[in-house]
């Protein structure tokens, strides 16, 4: 009806299980399937009015884990607008930059006054707040108005997700409706357990991270329930556990880092989550020690590992981690390729195919590959058009920058990045993004950010800085000044933890900061 299999599947649930929760959170806010359909219809009709927002323009959904966010997502899809999720973790300057990049837009703010929209550096956008949303939900809409909503064609952008960019500004990945439906079809085949009845999914990741698509698409499309933590419950592990204990969760979805945090407390086990059946991890390297401990605490649980960039809709490979994969400390596989999508390993220089068992750069070819980067044809060309034509064969393709190996069994293994993008506790970060923000400060003459590794993963980031003449402080006092100044432009997880001050930046033969020398210097 709306041209999106996902949206139509969610709406059908309003007939099948109108009173079941599609979403609830630790603040005891609930949304039923009937409410989701009614409210998203009313909001979609309102958004379809060009007096409120230009037809087809992206709509920014600002906030954390509230029922309004889910209503907004469905309403945008029904009214033909891409949605742009922005979590409250993003500071004002970054939000302002995203709004400027999006251009013609409307902001739906589901938070409680986290951002002062009037004082954004790029000027105040048109903002709809919660009180106005509640009014819009009450407006009567006719079935004809709903039937006349534009909905989506397969190539229409479903969401625009902004991720760290290498030059100091985030870049928007344009994911089409076809991508979302393609992902859902795969999950229907390989990750559905209809004999179990309705599931409760952990809607852990912020909506601005594509990991959230796993549960947000799967849960509502199948009549399941999504459970999320509101900020209050995230403030301490004790409160997190209290909320988890009441959730009835069957399906855990998170980064491995978050599970590691929970496992640090002995009370995190099957007594806390007695209904838990599966754990799904995406977003960073999953270590055998983490899985072994998870299986010990939750003997009834099946553990799955997945892999995929935002540029190809959540994840593109998946497998269950079986006991035989855990016998020694060898790296775990990132899964088998999803049906219909080709994962091709090429030599990053010659773009010639690599034989099975040899490491190379991963190219993704298929229908879940995104359309490109919003308003950035240069970046789109480099990442989405560089797959050799004899490999892409006219299909969409994406060059990941990830080094992988295909094993004879069809399982893929991840080795690392071929560029300066990193994953820190599951967050995708371009080191150049942080360096640009640091170098923009009058206090900083030159900066280079080095990941510090421990136990096979990135432990923290260290900024190597040459202070400018303007800097009157040094040491801790200067570090505190610099951190205070980047807080407006960088989310907390991107602020380097430690700082090392240098008189001059060591340079390599190409005249760029010598990252190897710096890593040796700080013992990274």
């Amino acid at each position: 009806m709306f041209g999106s299999q996902f949206v139509d599947a969610v709406d059908r649930q309003a007939d099948l299980a109108p009173d079941r929760d599609v979403f609830f959170n630790s603040a005891d806010e609930h949304l039923t399937y009937a409410q989701l359909r009614e409210r998203s219809n009313a909001l979609a009709v309102w958004l379809d009015d060009p007096a409120h927002v230009v037809a087809g323009a992206p709509v920014i959904l600002y906030g954390h884990k509230a029922p309004h966010m889910l209503v907004g997502i469905l309403a945008c899809a029904k009214s033909g607008h891409p949605y742009v999720p922005i979590d409250t973790v993003y500071p004002a300057d970054r939000v302002s930059n995203i709004i400027e990049q999006v251009g013609e837009t409307l902001v739906i703010d589901t938070s409680v006054g986290v951002i002062d929209w009037e004082s954004l550096p790029g000027g105040a956008p048109r903002v709809v707040r919660v009180a106005e949303l509640d009014d819009i939900y009450q407006r009567p809409v006719t079935s004809k108005q709903v039937a006349d909503l534009p909905g989506k064609t397969p190539d229409d952008t479903f969401y625009l997700l902004f991720t760290s960019g290498s030059t100091g500004a985030p870049k928007g990945v344009e994911v089409s409706s076809e991508c979302v439906d393609g992902f859902l079809e795969w999950m229907d085949q390989d990750y559905a357990f209809p004999e179990e009845g309705p599931r409760v999914w952990f809607n852990r990741a912020a909506y601005s991270f594509d990991l959230s698509v796993s549960d947000l698409v799967n849960g509502p499309a199948h009549g399941d329930t999504c459970f999320a933590l509101e900020e209050e419950a995230e403030a301490s592990l004790a409160r997190t556990f209290e909320a988890l204990g009441k959730s009835g969760m069957t399906d855990w979805v998170s980064t491995p880092s978050f599970l590691d945090q929970c496992l640090a407390d002995a009370s995190f086990d099957a007594n806390l989550l007695p209904r838990l059946r599966r754990m799904l991890f995406v977003g960073e390297t999953l270590r055998p020690s983490t899985v072994r401990e998870a299986k010990r605490r939750f003997p009834q649980v099946h553990v799955y590992n997945g892999y995929g960039p935002t540029e190809s809709t959540d994840f593109v490979s998946l497998c269950e981690i079986t006991d035989d994969m855990l016998v020694d400390d060898k790296p775990l596989p990132i899964g088998y390729a999803m049906p219909g999508v080709k994962l091709v390993v090429l030599d990053p220089q010659t773009l010639e195919p690599k034989p099975t068992g040899e490491a190379g750069e991963l190219f993704i070819v298929g229908h879940t590959v995104a359309k490109g980067y919003w308003g950035r044809p240069d970046l789109t060309e480099a990442a989405f058009r560089s797959c050799p034509p004899q490999v892409a064969k006219g299909r969409k393709s994406y060059r990941t920058g990830d080094e992988v190996t295909l094993s004879p069994s069809g399982l893929y293994y991840f080795h690392g990045r071929l560029d300066l993008q990193i994953k820190l506790h599951g967050y995708r970060i371009e080191l150049g993004d942080i360096e640009s923000c640091l170098c923009a400060l009058p206090l900083v003459q030159a900066a280079c950010v080095i990941p510090v590794w421990r136990d096979g993963q990135i432990h923290h980031l260290c900024a190597c800085v040459v202070a400018a003449d303007e800097a009157t402080e040094q040491g801790l006092a200067l570090t505190r000044q610099i951190k205070a100044q980047v807080r407006d432009s960088l989310p907390t997880y991107m602020i380097p933890r430690s700082f090392k001050y240098l008189d001059v930046m060591p340079l390599n033969q190409n005249g760029k900061a010598d990252r190897k020398a710096l890593a040796a210097l700080i013992g990274a």
């Binding site: 301490s236 592990l237 590691d260 945090q261 506790h425 801790l476 602020i495």
Partner: protein, 79 residues
């Protein structure tokens, strides 16, 4: 400064990767982004290894262990 204080400071320096945190023992490690929740859990594990002091992550709120001086006090309470 006692030996215990010194060892705890060394642990915080090691986990934060920042020598300078030893300069101000009342610095809020979380507010100033020298610690995050992963670092806090790492510290609790390190305190158990170093002093045999067992503090469960669910036991204390962040405000009770957000400075070096508070961490030292919590450890001494339990030794």
């Amino acid at each position: 400064m006692s030996n215990i204080d010194r060892r705890i400071i060394d642990l915080v320096v090691d986990i934060s990767g920042e020598d300078e945190v030893a300069e101000d023992l009342d610095l809020d490690l979380f507010e100033e982004e020298f610690f995050d929740s992963m670092a806090a859990i790492e510290l609790l594990a390190a305190l158990e290894d170093e002093f045999g002091v067992s503090i469960a992550p669910t036991e204390l709120d962040r405000e009770e262990m957000n400075t070096v001086n508070k961490i030292i006090a919590r450890v001494k309470e339990r030794l």
